[in-house]
Symmetry: C2
Subunit: 368 residues, 2 copies
């Protein structure tokens, strides 16, 4: 694994050098983890002139750590807990003879930026921008394999829930049970707060589970995901409670299903992000659902649950192969409920069979 | 409740005016919630020249919200999802005739700060510093009551766990069960990731539960907390598994207990933060445990689990009445395990009975 991290770091360094900085300070936790194998709380990564350093504060016992740091990387631990790892790393950069340090201005606070300038005034600060986020968009097969395992775990947890009795149980209990099952099946934890939405809540994006109980005739929409070795996937399904769905439920379900399929089918290397959004969105639009649609129809996933690219109307850019994304259209009718269908897929060329579906739970309308 | 928020906002405004800014932009989520009643994801609060505004992005359905926004506060929703609420709020501030805007430089990123300067160049930006965090240190009785209920919930969850069979179960399972019980008893959720540590892991601060199973003879240390209406408390206890603790276990437990009691007994209005730390620390020090001690012996709690004050060797400042803090010394012996004892208490004057203990689970060494 160590080589993988070293290669990633040298790619960031190339980008830095191209824009005039020989060194870089990585502070965004997911970026630190991507380049160093682990991101202890409060730690930063210095891509230095003579050496790369993972700079962390306080005794190791005080700070929980995800993942294992790349063994080839030297770890510099600050004495005490009060220090700022970013300031210390900038100081170490100058000590190595660094002259210009690129920082993540979209993550670093104004106060830390100011502290660096005051402690190491001779260091020129530049902006690294989202160079690391951009590198993270296309995944290698090792990363995709973590997502695939995470998706299997989420499928299992969801499948087991569907076999149990649902009527009378609260949204909060169902969400907790799903999260327990995720961990039972080997997840590090849930990838994001599990959303279980019943009746009038069903179909709402990122719904926070309430004490409402599942009732006969309800729509039940569930959105969950597993984190596996740091990688986060997402699956969303909608079901009907009871033996026979109402006509409006079948109609709405079929519509969202058609939108989601259109989105999935538009995934291909070279497809514009906005075209994937439009493929799904126009199915909902043309049925008259223009109000209250989600602001995007999908997004990248990886070390964070909401990564680039954004599959949204104003997004710029095109998909590459090996980019994992969600496709997740939904419609919510205020007071009545709604439908969301959400998959995680990996963009693949047609020669390799087209988009690879990671979340394989059926998308038939199940009546439970 | 609306009056409470209005009063808090006018106190922040007074601080601003004292330092030359008539208006302020609050971006740190816990600060937004403190002043506005709720902090929708990505939302900011503008304390404007003519009106206060909660500025949020995207359709409400897209963004989960904790708490309920103060009804007296106007909500400004940005169209679409791409906008930056901080930039929009700065623009609205200028439209109200604001000239100088104080921002939270310790939270705002360099990139957002730059975007504000570029979109609203005529607005002078100042630093609000941690004015809101400082206001948050002393709690009102409503806030303390939320912490008290949270502590009761945590006590209940822990008490139920102790009645179950523990040997053979993994740290991860025990942690999940505790979190489920927290929610069962009415918590919004866990206040932080529950730490369950067995055998050689016991006594480590912020230990991430593993698949290690509880064994006879183990120390078992547990640290958990409930969030109730946004307020987060903390309790930590250490137990022995089996009928008769070993001599070294009793000795270590008694030592940490004595340190924790010394810390608790030093809590009083006017006590220096560092003196509380020293009271607990010197008990451990004088027994020869100088290595690997926690970097602090306690900290404030409230809308965040780790707030001011820090009860640490270099901390400056003195306790006030109605400040809730943890007292949480611990010793971890590498390879053998250790002990942590952690309570949440509210500082009260002696005339009111001294420090109020919120987490009342026994601190006797239980053999389970």
């Amino acid at each position: 694994m160590s080589e993988v991290y070293a290669t990633r770091r040298s790619r960031v360094r190339e980008r830095c050098q191209a824009s005039g900085s020989a060194t870089a300070l990585i502070s965004r936790p997911a970026n630190v983890r991507y380049l160093a194998g682990a991101a202890p709380q409060g730690a930063v990564l210095l891509l230095g002139k003579t050496e790369d350093l993972l700079v962390r504060t306080g005794p190791p016992d005080d700070r929980p750590t995800d993942g294992r740091p790349d063994e080839a990387l030297r770890i510099h631990t600050l004495p005490g807990a009060g220090g700022d790892a970013a300031v210390a790393a900038a100081d170490l950069s100058a000590a190595q003879g660094g002259e210009c340090l690129a920082v993540e201005e979209h993550h670093l606070t104004v106060a830390r930026h100011r502290a660096i300038r005051s402690v190491v005034p001779r260091l020129r600060l530049a902006d690294l921008g989202s160079a690391v986020e951009q590198l993270r968009v296309v995944k290698d097969e090792e990363e995709i394999s973590c997502l695939r395992i995470g998706a299997e775990i989420a499928d299992q947890a969801l499948g087991e829930l569907l076999e149990s009795i649902l009527v009378g149980r609260t949204e909060r209990h169902l969400a907790l049970e799903l999260e327990r099952r995720l961990v039972d099946h080997g997840a590090d934890g849930p990838a994001f707060p599990t959303a279980v939405a019943t009746g009038p809540n069903a179909g709402r994006r990122a719904h926070r589970p309430t004490d409402r109980r599942v009732e006969e005739g309800d729509f039940l929409s569930v959105c969950l995901g597993a984190t596996y070795r740091g990688y986060r996937c997402e699956i969303g399904r909608t079901f009907v409670i009871g033996t026979s769905p109402a006509d409006w439920q079948i109609e709405l379900y079929d519509l969202v299903f058609a939108a989601q399929r259109a989105g999935r089918e538009s995934l291909a290397p070279g497809a514009a992000y906005r075209d994937v959004d439009r493929a799904a969105r126009q199915v909902l639009d043309s049925a008259g659902h223009t109000e209250g649609l989600p602001s995007l129809m999908g997004h990248g996933v990886g070390l964070e649950i909401d990564e680039d690219p954004q599959l949204a109307p104003a997004a710029m850019g095109k998909l590459d192969a090996c980019v994992p994304v969600t496709v997740e259209p939904g419609v919510h009718l205020p007071g009545r409920g709604g439908v969301r269908i959400d998959d995680t897929l990996v963009v693949r060329p047609e020669a390799d069979g087209g988009p690879e579906l990671l979340t394989i739970t059926t998308k038939e309308l199940l009546a439970l």
